[in-house]
Amino acid sequence: MRYVLKRVRRLVVVIFAVTLFTFLLVNVLPGDVAYDIAGQDASEEEVQAIRADLGLDRPVMIRYVEWLGDFVQGDWGRSFRTDESVAEAIWSRFPVSLELMLVAQVFALILAVPFGIFAAYRAGRTVDRTIATAGFMSLSVPSFMAAIILILVVSLNLGWLPTSEYEPLSAGLWANLRAFILPALAIALSEWVVLMRVLRADLIGVLQQDYISLARAKGLPVWHVILRHALKPASFSMITILGLQIGTLVGGSIIIESIFALPGVGRLLINAIYARDFIVVQGVVVFIAFAYVLVNFIVDLLYAVLDPRIRTERSDG
């Protein structure tokens, strides 16, 4: 329990640092929001008025403290352009990015775990080399390229899946899920390789441990030894990578969401950048940072679930 409290304290510190840095970065950037809002033909007085109206004429630190005050109370500000609440804008798009991330990671794990196990069990043999070659081919195709190829083959030639028809969950599970299959696959095709290689490397090390020999000396079948004895201690690095990947994807995938016209957080961010809607950009950046830290925090907690030694070590100190 003390382990959890300690981690929560660290999380608060990280979030504070991230918000401050984002705020300074966004406000120090050249190109004032006020010019943007006022338009090209506006006079200097009009710009000043907008600036005063938005409170941009005051020192950065004061604005940060104000923004932080509002932020902790759940007020993320309003878009300069659409006057939409930033928090609402993010929260309405977040489920799309979350679903994309989940489906993509499920695909990545479905590919990574069995192939990682096979490759490790037959390390150095033909199976291992074939998987490695296929993996590096899959990894070296950029996700936008994979997306276009998938659309060409699966949607246009075979006609199995739609190219870009996002349906909300209320339209039915299958109607909703099927829009995510291709974009998730495009992401998973590069992510599974890293997971697979890391799992393979750790598993090869674990399979040489004495406790694996002991498990085999009990007369247990190979699959039992691998799944029950070796997989858990061999999955730490893979879970670390998985956490980083999830953290990146929770904030949305700008490229994939754009190609497949998915209304996720990534698209919100890229549109806000095009429109120079800085308060939205800041909200999204903070959100992504928050999600990233939170996911890795959960991964850290997961270590303790996987490895009993971490549990006792941390609670002692």
Binding site: A217, G219, D307
Partner: protein, 340 residues
């Protein structure tokens, strides 16, 4: 009782390495009757552990067992059985205890589960019954608070306690043969005797057959019926413990005995060590493999491999030496030395 439980015939284990073929075990033959204890003794690298792993079927993929080797256990040739039939023997047929209990227990699995999963697999024991049996076994091997320990993880136990758990794991499936591979080498001296006594007691109570592998002849004395001394992958002397200690023939065995500190020697006396190193097993010496380190070698030793010969008084005591020690002459020799 007539048929031996375990019989090795000309067993070799070779490893393929970039430098060449390593003959880790080279033509080992012995047999073991049910209920007996065999001490397998030799220095590091003599092939004891590889032999244990060969019997247990735990060799890495780059190992090769040449044609002509046979391991017969309870009527089966372990080297020709298919995988499934071979696995059915590991556990209920042969159990094994490894050298280092710090690495031989799974760090992320509860102790109880590690004890009962073999029973679950071989006998279909339920989880609840398995846990009960695990507590009984932990009690039997002398672990305090077994009902608490059963749900703990290995890192919460000391080295000696972990080795007791490893013994409980090996005993769980009631094996006919127990192979203990240097079970006390990694432990504190203070707990070594306790572990050895436990093994001896279990062996006797269960009527188990046991192979006790050690580099310490002192461990073997009084605990084993028979002793086999290994050197450079082969057995160089074997016999009943009594005969082997009383009528040591092979020079290497004698050198091993001389390197043990003894209470009947003056204190602070310099211990005898064996000079030189064990031979390179990729390119072993042409004659007796101990010859380069032997103080009693003659020209014959360097060129021809000594055959296994039986002792004149006790034919079950056999040794491979061209220039064996004469136990009768040296025994009287020693007696006068002690008297002086």
């Amino acid at each position: 009782m007539a048929d031996p439980l375990l019989e090795l015939t000309n067993v070799s284990t070779h490893f393929h390495s970039p430098a060449g073929r390593v003959r880790a075990v080279d033509g080992v033959s012995f047999s073991l009757k049910a209920g007996q204890t065999l001490g397998l003794v030799g220095e590091s690298g003599s092939g004891k552990s590889v032999l244990a792993r060969t019997i247990m079927g735990l060799l890495p993929s780059y190992a090769e067992i040449p044609e002509g080797s046979a391991i017969s256990f309870d009527g089966h040739n372990l080297l020709t059985l298919d995988r499934k039939a071979r696995r059915a023997i590991s556990g209920p047929g042969i159990g094994m205890i490894f050298q280092d209990p710090m690495t031989s227990l799974n760090p992320v699995m509860k102790i109880g589960q590690q004890v009962y999963e073999g029973m679950r697999h071989h006998f279909g024991t339920s989880k609840r019954a398995g846990r009960e049996r695990a507590i009984e076994l932990l009690t039997e091997v002398g672990i305090p608070q077994p009902d608490v320990r059963v749900d703990q993880f290995p890192h919460q136990l000391s080295g000696g306690m972990r080795q007791r758990v490893a013994i409980a794991i090996a005993l769980a499936c009631e094996p006919k043969l127990l192979i203990a591979d240097e079970p006390t080498t990694a432990l504190d001296v203070t707990v070594q005797a306790g572990i050895l006594d436990l093994l001896q007691r279990e062996q006797r109570d269960r009527g188990m057959t046991m192979i006790l592998i050690t580099h310490d002849l002192g461990v073997v004395a009084g605990r084993c019926d028979n002793v086999a001394v290994m050197y450079a992958g082969g057995i160089v002397e074997t016999g009943t413990t009594l005969s082997l200690f009383a009528r040591t023939r092979m020079r290497y065995t004698q050198a091993l005995l001389d390197s043990i500190p003894r209470l009947d020697r003056p204190p602070h006396e310099r211990l005898q060590s064996i000079g030189g190193r064990p031979p390179n097993l990729i390119d072993p010496p042409a004659g007796c493999r101990f010859a380069p380190r032997c103080a009693h070698r003659n020209a014959h030793c360097d060129t021809d491999i000594p055959p296994i010969t039986a002792d004149e008084q006790d034919p079950s005591h056999r040794f491979a030496c061209w220039n064996p020690r004469d136990p009768d002459a040296e025994a009287s020799d020693k007696a006068t030395g002690d008297a002086a």
